[in-house]
Structures are given as C-alpha cells and as structure tokens.
C-alpha cells in the first residue's frame, strides 16, 4: 500500500522558529559572544516577558470567560479561571525567582521594573501585531493579483 505524503503543520512551525535559531547561530558564528552580555541579562528578560505576557493575556482571557460563562450558563467560570490563573502565576513567579538573582533589569525599584515590563510588553505586542498585519497584507495582495482560479465566463452566463 502506498502511503500518501501529506504536509504537516510541523513544517509551518519549523518555518516560524527557523529564523530565530538562524539569526542567533549566524551572529554567534560571525561575531562570537557580546562583551559583558550573557545569560545573566537574557534570563531576566525571558522571566519578565513571560510573567507580563501571562498577566496581559490572562486579563484578556478573563474578559472572554465572562462571555463564556454567560453563554453556557456557567456563572462561576470566570471565578475558577481567575483562581487557576493566580495559582499558575504564583507558581511561575516562584519558579523564575528561584532561578537566581533576577527580575530587576537595571531598574532601581520593583515599581519601576513593573512599569517598564508593562510598557516593554505592549511595545513588543505592537511590533508583533504590525508584522502580522504586514504579512497578511502581502499574502492578500499576492492572492488578489494572481490569475483567477474560477471561470468567470461560466459565472457571467449563469447571471444572465
């Protein structure tokens, strides 16, 4: 029996992460390490970014949970969602804090770091949203400028 080779979604995912690994690999090969810069600077960024995006996405999803609870007649759904989000958030924060002296990235106080994290994540999300819009714009432009796949003469004769 001949098995058909169907494309997998994994191919697309590899395409999405390939540039990240490539840029790091090429840069490290060409230029080596960066002076006075290493995991001590990278780890806090990952931790802060993960915690801030967790909070922002949780707030967004919590809003949706109210709609879910209303539509499925589950009024307690947002409360349970909130409790689980808080527990996961605390566990994640404990995990990241236990990795070493981190979370304050050159900011003088926790409050300054909090504001910086929020602004930083908002700017990152704006960059991601803009790049997603540009990608969709190019895709849509390429599609509308390709030769039509539907036989218009048949459609026109049907309309007549």
């Amino acid at each position: 029996m001949i098995s058909e080779n169907k494309p997998s979604i994994k191919v697309v995912l590899i395409g999405a992460i390939l540039p990240v690994f490539s840029i790091v690999a090429i840069d490290y090969t060409l230029n080596g390490g960066i002076p006075n810069f290493g995991m001590a600077e990278i780890n806090p960024r990952i931790a802060n970014s993960a915690l801030t995006s967790f909070i922002l996405v949780s707030i967004f999803l919590l809003g949706n949970m109210f709609f879910y609870g209303e539509s499925r007649n589950r009024p307690m759904a947002p409360i349970y969602g909130m409790i689980i989000a808080v527990v996961v958030g605390i566990l994640a924060a404990i995990f990241f804090i236990n990795q070493g002296p981190m979370l304050l990235e050159g900011n003088g106080s926790v409050r300054a770091q909090l504001v910086y994290n929020t602004a930083h994540t908002i700017v990152s999300i704006i960059a991601l949203a803009f790049s997603a819009l540009v990608t969709l714009g190019i895709l849509f432009s390429a599609m509308t400028h390709s030769s039509p796949r539907i036989d218009n003469t048949h459609m026109n004769s049907e309309e007549e």
Binding site: G15, V24, V57, R111, V115, L139
Partner: protein
C-alpha cells in the same frame, strides 16, 4: 503633582482608554456606544501621543514618543498594502490602477522611512540617547516579520494549490527583513553601534520566547476550566429520526436546488 500620579493620569489612564474604547465600539446594540468608543480611542491616542510634552519626566513617555515616530511609516505601509490588495481581483469594491500605483508608492515610502529611522539621523531619541523602546520595537518587528512571512510562505507551498508564485513575495519579505537584521548586527548606524544592536536582537529573542511561554501558560490555565466544564456537560438528548413525510420535503428541496439544468 506627584510624578507617578501625573504619569498615571496623563499617560496610563488614557492608554487604557484605547483598548476600552475599541471594546465599547464593537458593541452592536447602540450607535451611541459606538461613537463613545471611538471618541475614547481618539482621546486616548491624543493623550498618549502628547505624553513627551505632558509628562516629560516620566520614562513611560518614551512609549508615546515611539508611537508618534512610528505612526507615519506604519500608516503608509498599511495604507499601501490595502490599496494594492484591493486593486487586484476582488469581487466588489475594486480600486483603480491609479490607486494601485499610489499603494506601491505609499508602501515604498513607508518601508524606506522605517529603514532610515535606523540607518539615518531620524532615530527616535530622548535626552541625547536612542529611545529604549525603539530598541525593543525594531528587533521584534524584524524578527517576527521574518518568522511570520517564512511560516505563511511555507504554509502556502505545503497546503496551497499551486501557490508557488504567491509565496515568493512572502519569501522576499522574509529575506529582506532577515538581511536587514544581519546588516544592522554587523554595521554601525549613525546613532547605534552594531554591538548595541546585537544585544537588543538577543534580548528580542528572549522577549519573544517569554511572550510565547506566558501566553501559552495563560491559555492553558483558562482552557483547563473550559475543558472541565465541557467534559461535565450532560449528553444532548437524542431526537427522533425524521419521518417519511419530512424526508420527502427534504428530498424535494434538494432536488429543486441541485437538479440537473437539462432535466
């Protein structure tokens, strides 16, 4: 007034108006709510964009300055893509060839403007140093643009029906932004050295990884609640099979709609 209170009142509160206004504007029930939502967005944007003047001491005003700087090229790029897309084969609302040319000009000017903001002397700067959020925005934009374009291009090739020609545009954009990144990591610009930019690219990789981890954790937390609820829902009550009369009606409707033109 206290500096923190000023920043909260003149920057963060108006900033919160933007998503709130967008949310209210989407409520379909009332035209009044729609107008109120759009007004909130406009007021929020005005306050955020004027933050470098209203709260110059606050570090948060750097976000307002960045948004002001990128507004021009961003609008030009998106406007250009819109004009190009809707001047192609669209069933309704097709734009003219003049609009298409205007779209190409707009896209070109927007991309060139963004490029010059890194390479030339128009980089967003505050207090004689480059705006720290510009150094977050640009690497994130270039890296995510490369990832999205490559992923969608590969997706078109893998799942699309003879879409190789269309995927070329996406691969071209992915290559262009990747080459921009490589050049910026190896060549100094007027305001920024290559080493500094390399640091921010590495931090951008960490940033994207963190955002991915945080978003997945949040989605899993809330999805687990929905999963448990949906799993405990009672089985839907089975209904009786259709009667012969009902089947006859269905057959008639199908025949009327799918019948051969010659019959």
């Amino acid at each position: 007034m206290d500096e923190i209170f000023e920043a909260a009142l003149l920057f963060w509160l108006p900033f919160a108006f933007i998503p709130l206004g967008f949310w209210i504007s989407q409520l379909k029930s009332s035209k009044l709510f729609n107008n109120f939502g759009y007004s909130l967005i406009i007021v929020g944007l005005i306050f955020v964009l004027s933050s470098p003047w209203t709260v110059p001491e606050s570090p948060s005003s750097a976000v307002g300055q960045l948004l002001g700087f990128i507004a021009g090229p961003t609008i030009l790029v998106l406007h250009g893509l819109y004009k190009i897309a809707y001047s192609g084969n669209v069933p309704v609302g097709k734009l003219t060839k003049r609009d298409k040319n205007l779209g190409f000009v707009s896209l070109f000017v927007g991309i060139t403007w963004l490029n010059l903001m890194h390479w030339w002397g128009i980089t967003p700067s505050m207090d004689n140093s480059v705006n720290r959020y510009w150094l977050v925005f640009l690497p994130n934009l270039l890296l995510s643009l490369t990832c999205f374009c490559l992923a969608i291009g590969i997706g078109l090739l893998a799942f699309g029906d003879s879409r190789a020609r269309e995927s070329r545009y996406l691969f071209a954009m992915a290559s262009a932004s990747f080459i921009f990144l490589l050049c910026a990591m190896n060549l100094d610009s007027i305001n920024l050295t290559a080493i500094e930019f390399r640091e921010y690219v590495w931090l951008s990789v960490a940033d994207l990884l963190g955002i991915f981890i945080g978003a997945v954790l949040a989605i899993m937390s809330f999805a687990s609640v929905i999963f448990v609820y949906e799993k405990n829902l009672p089985k839907p009550v089975s209904i009786e099979p259709p009667t012969s009369d009902e089947l006859a009606v269905v057959s008639r409707v199908i025949k009327n709609n799918l019948g051969d033109e010659n019959s």
